[in-house]
Symmetry: C2
Subunit: 163 residues, 2 copies
Amino acid sequence: MKVLGIDPGSRITGYGIIQKLGNRLLHVDNGAIFTDTSGDFPQRLHKIYTGLTEVIERYQPDAMAIEQIFFSNNVQSALKLGQARGAAIVAGVNAGLPVAEYTALQVKQAVVGHGKAAKEQVQQMVKILLNLPEIAQADASDALAVAICHANSVALRTAGKIR
Amino acid sequence: MKVLGIDPGSRITGYGIIQKLGNRLLHVDNGAIFTDTSGDFPQRLHKIYTGLTEVIERYQPDAMAIEQIFFSNNVQSALKLGQARGAAIVAGVNAGLPVAEYTALQVKQAVVGHGKAAKEQVQQMVKILLNLPEIAQADASDALAVAICHANSVALRTAGKIR
C-alpha cells in the first residue's frame, strides 16, 4: 500500500509518499510545494491543487492522509489554512483517493509511541523509521508522519486490533 | 459578459449566474449546493467542487466572483468555511476562470449604493436589479450580489472610471 501524506499550508504544502510492504515502511519521496506569496490567493490555491495532482499522477498512491486541524492562531490564519487544506483535499478526492484524517495526537502516538512528543522528536522518529539520510524539511516531515500514521492504522484495522 | 458569483459554505454553497449586456443585467440562474452534513468532510468538499464544476460547464461563465472573508465566529468555523471556499475557488481556477474577490463593503456599495446596507436590503435590491419573481434563497442571493458587484466594477474599469 502506498500512502500520500500531506501537510497543507497557504505558503508551504508538504507532501510525503511512503510504501508499506508487509511490516516494512519504505520511503518513496517527499517534498514541498511553495506558493508565491506575492501572487493572488486563488492562484496560490491552484498551485497547491496542481502540484499535488502531479505528485498523485507520478506516484499513484492508494490513499491520502492529512492531519485534522482544530486550532489556529486566529480566525485570519484559520481561513487561509482552511482554504489551502480545501484545495489539497480536493486534489485527493478528485483523483479518486480515499482521504483519511488523523488528529495530531494520533500521529504522535503512531510515530513516537505517545501523544506528548515534541515536534523535534516526531521529525527524528520519521527519519529513523524511514531510514532517511537526514531530517526532512519540516512540512514534508509532518506529511511523512501522517502517512506513517495511516499506514500503521490501516495495518492494525486489517489485523482486527482496532476498529 | 457572464459572471458566476459564489457564496461558499461547508453546508450550503450558493451560486448565481448573471449576464451583462450593455448596461443591462440579466439573471441567468441561481441555486445552492447542499452538502450532506452526515458525510465525511472530504466528500463534502468534493461535492462543492463537482457541483460548481457542473454549473461552470452548463453556463460557461467568463469569470468567477467571490466575497472576501476576514471574519468568522471562531477558529473552528473559519477552518470549515476556509476549506469550502478553497474547494470552490479551485473549481473556478481549474476551469480557467479568473477569480475576483470583493469585500462585503464593495458588494453592498455595488448593489445598494452604500456600505452599511442590511442583509435584507441587499436581497431586496438583488431581486429588483435582476427582476426576480421573489427573493432568492439567502446563499444564492448573496452569490448573485457578488456577481452584480463584479459585472459593474468590470464595466467601470473598462470605462476608465476606476482602476
